[in-house]
């Protein structure tokens, strides 16, 4: 009995071994494999899932339109649970086992910094949809992004505070565990001081804390005219709630990490009168945005957030580059992405600069009655 089972298992293996290479070869001829890494579970799941929806929409569109020179695109998505070490494993797996031609990911700068060296080492182009920390693309010439970077975002909010809100005394409340938050806070501070502003308090917290009252009490004592909180929506909802409870009624400012429907769900009415910089506004009336929102609504039944728009943009830039690449060499694909010029994306026109960062505008959103209202567009200088 035992030997019979062994033999039948062996034959199954042999048959499988005979069949697999045949199937494989046929597949690789007609398919271009693209990897995607994102936090689809974990504390920042909204980021990964929104990006994935945007990427998938772009890829489905390209495939429906005939693919790339007759080849279909296959997206292999891996969840990294929001952990840098998982992201690194995913990157290695995508490159060495799945043999992808390029990788889209990660959303968070801390995880992009973990995976970019691997992509660079294997010379596989990587496009981060929304990692805004400058260090990400400095890792190597195969690393790109389709979003603006922290110095610009920090500058935007500092200019907005000085010019539009007309305030000079500001407090900063940063997430000390997060590269993104620290970077944004530093650049904000720099621009503010250069513009004649003043930082009256610079407090910090750690992502995942529940109680921010002690720091907020200290901020309140310093009597700022506005507070800059460059954190993620997961914490900002609670922070803003507690700030309002303590009677801190001044405008609160943030970055694109605020962009999630959960923000107003957790923050509730306390979110009224807060502002954040973002990559796009759903109230933008330009034709590509209107048609994108329409397609997105049809596919998923919801209005896309900025993160989805960037996922879509990252995929579109890659598709555009793939179309322009004649050979199948990694280097040609890299060069094609680097040559992206005046590409009309959802978050504005994308032109890659020599540091593989796009030059593009930012919008400032105001939260009012639970809605994200378009307030201003800030062009790059």
């Amino acid at each position: 009995m035992a030997s019979f089972t062994m033999r039948s298992m062996l034959s199954v293996f042999l048959v499988a071994a005979l069949l697999t290479p045949g199937c494989r070869k046929k597949e690789t001829e007609n398919v271009i494999k693209v990897g995607e890494i994102g936090s689809m579970t974990g504390a920042e799941a909204t980021f990964g899932l929104s990006t994935h929806e945007g990427v998938k929409l772009a890829m489905d569109e390209a495939n429906a339109a005939g693919g790339i020179n007759g080849k279909k695109i296959e997206v292999i998505s891996i969840d990294d649970q929001g952990k840098p070490e998982e992201a690194a494993i995913a990157m290695t797996k995508l490159i060495t086992q799945n043999k992808v031609v390029a990788v889209i990911g990660e959303v968070a700068s801390s995880r992009s910094l973990a995976i970019a060296p691997i992509a660079q080492q294997y010379k596989v182009p990587m496009i981060s949809p929304s990692s805004t920390n400058p260090k990400v693309t400095q890792i190597g010439n195969y690393i790109f992004r389709v979003c603006f970077i922290d110095p610009f975002q920090g500058t935007v909010m500092a200019r907005f505070a000085l010019d539009t809100l007309k305030v000079k005394k500001l407090a900063i409340f940063r997430d000390v565990k997060n590269d993104y938050s620290v970077g944004l806070a530093d650049f904000f501070k720099e621009t503010l001081l250069a513009g004649g502003g003043q930082v009256v308090a610079d407090q910090s917290y750690s992502a995942g804390d529940m109680d921010f009252k002690s720091q907020l009490t200290a901020i309140r004592t310093a009597e700022p005219e506005a507070v800059f909180i460059p954190g993620y929506y997961t914490d900002v909802g609670l922070i803003v709630r507690q700030a309002r409870e303590l009677g801190l009624t001044v405008p609160l400012l943030g970055g694109d990490g605020w962009d999630s429907p959960k923000l107003t769900e957790i923050g509730g009415a306390a979110m009224d009168g807060t502002y954040f910089s973002n990559h796009y506004s759903e109230e933008d009336k330009s034709p590509q945005v209107v048609s994108f929102i329409e397609k997105y609504k049809k596919a998923y039944g919801i209005v896309p957030n900025g993160i989805s728009a960037l996922g879509y943009d990252a995929a579109m830039v890659l598709i555009d580059a793939l179309k322009r690449t004649k050979s199948s060499s990694q280097e040609d694909l890299r060069n094609a992405i680097a040559e992206t010029k005046n590409f009309v994306g959802i978050g504005g026109k994308i032109t890659m600069d020599e540091n593989r960062n796009p030059v593009k505008p930012a919008v400032v959103i105001k939260v009012q009655d639970g809605k994200f209202r378009y307030t201003a567009t800030v062009e790059p200088k």
């Binding site: 579970t41 799941a45 009252k213 002690s214 609670l238 709630r241 959960k262």
Partner: protein
Amino acid sequence: MLEFVQHVINGLSLGSIYALVAIGYTMVFGILRLINFAHGEVYMLGAFAGFYVVRWMGFAQNPSLAALLITLVAAMAFCAAAGFCIERLAYKPLRGAPTINVLITAVGVSLFLQYTGQLVFGSDPQFFPPVYQPQAAWEWGELKVNPIQVAILIISTVLMGILQFVLFRTRVGRAMRAVQFNHDLARLMGISTDKIISYTFMFGSALAGAAGVLVGLAYPKIDPLMGVLPGLKSFAAAVLGGIGNVTGAFLGAILLGLAEEFLAAYWSPTYRDALAFAILILILLIKPTGLLGKKQTEKV
């Protein structure tokens, strides 16, 4: 001065939540010599049980104190059942096994609940609907006291009072203390130790469940991994107070809450966890059994 009072209130309300969780650690340790690492996850389950009760009963539309109490009781009952199941399924089969085996099982149960939680509840944070929404904050000039903080303080004090009553005035409580003193002797006196151990888990878990709901009330963001850090801190608080001693756990938790608040306020919020734990180490160096812990002679 007002700022100081504000920090005291914040610290007390944070500490009383730690206390509710810490008591569960200390009760289980007292009886089984087991650090139940899954206890932080029971607290998370309590928050989610409360979340669903509020949703199903529609309390979010008409919040009231009665709604809060009903939610609290429901979540406590659910957690008591969860605690009972955890003990029966994971720990009871290992009774008599080396402590390290049970400890590893506890870590396993903890991870199991964290990831099952992500699967069932989703990993994105959920908004805990306001089940009790008192009128605006009480104000004395600059000082603002959120009535919810006071409610938390009162509710947790009452719950701990009930626990003290059960432990020292009822037959079950006496049996618990007897089992804590010596398993074999207690059994010889006709106490069903298994039953008493189950009761202990149920009481401890119910308190953790209450803490979960109160946290949801004060900090309305709950997620399946929310139990990890408070669980660890509460465990530290229990050790600080002298593990195995219920009053000590309460004291240790309040102390930890205040220490965290003051360190964050007057020193560095960045290192508040590290500093809070540094204080813990310092106290344990001076008094290794914890604040109220009794010295135990090793039996050879």
